[in-house]
Symmetry: D3
Subunit: 74 residues, 6 copies
């Protein structure tokens, strides 16, 4: 009866990738703890980059800096 | 001071139904544990069917199969 | 397929009361949204009163003040 | 390694305010528990006012009543 | 920067199994979404069987019935 | 009406520190979004170090390595 909540930033996760996450998390619980897939819930939350902070800044700013660094290198 | 979080798939829950959930959950905590409604929070999260997995598939696929089965019966 | 998470302070909730919460929340989702009880999860989290804050104080302090007020009245 | 989840009603929180919440929560954990900002996550969830209940009503209704009371006073 | 929360019933999960869950969930996010393990959090919550309801009963009762059925078969 | 959930590893957080977190988070929501402290909940979850993973290992292992590195330096 596990409940798995995966929270990621909302940056274009496709339905196919979401399905891979659902399958992978369900299989993980089945393999490690012998949990029944029929009662394993996997819920994916996509969070706007303005709403996710790490290292005292939001991910919007982090991504802009990463993109600028990449461009500077090229 | 309870906090109740209800997560359901995003499949057309109406404002009236949401209010019923809020009233019902608040009354439940009041009746069973004598909790004060003034400090009972009920938060409803509506999750896209692509983002909710059960039995190793997403609810989008589950609903399509259920609809097909219903149609085949008719 | 709902997931209901009920968070309350850890102040002697009995197994019978927990079961009432489970039954009540399951029935609520069944009645309002026609959700199947077989795939309705209800999870109760009991939180220490030191770890729950409201109105800028913890519930331990709140309960002590409420008890003192009650005693003063008697 | 803290994880801070801030849930508020969706009532026009600006990106600048979100950033203040992220900075403030990160600084709080750093100051009180000496946690490293580099591994402090702050996630803000904005919840529709129809989906947030307190005192057995939703925040949509609460806000309408507050606005009417304010208008009556003016 | 994913956050993965795995909630399971508290029924003797070993430290080694917890580590397998942590590794498996981290690898899943890395493989499917190319997320950096250094900022992937996995948090496991173990919930008492009295506090977890499914199908309108708690898991304590469910496990007792499963054990009785198994014994009857033997 | 904010709800703030702070999750940290269970490594000896004192009641006084928890109170500082409660006060700080309440003040933050009051200052930035003008939220009423009377309906601001702050809930602190303390998670065992075996149950918290980051960078594909649990915090128990991380702490042991950090302690060994510190000792080697001394």
């Amino acid at each position: 009866m596990p409940y798995v909540n995966i929270r990621v930033t909302n940056e274009g996760v496709t339905p196919a990738q979401k399905l891979e996450l659902i399958e992978g998390a369900t299989d993980l619980l089945s393999r490690v703890l012998n949990k029944d897939p029929a009662t394993t819930f996997v819920i994916i939350d996509e969070v706007e980059t303005d709403n996710w902070g790490v290292n005292r800044e939001n991910v919007t700013t982090l991504r802009a800096r990463q993109a600028a660094a990449k461009k500077a290198k090229a």
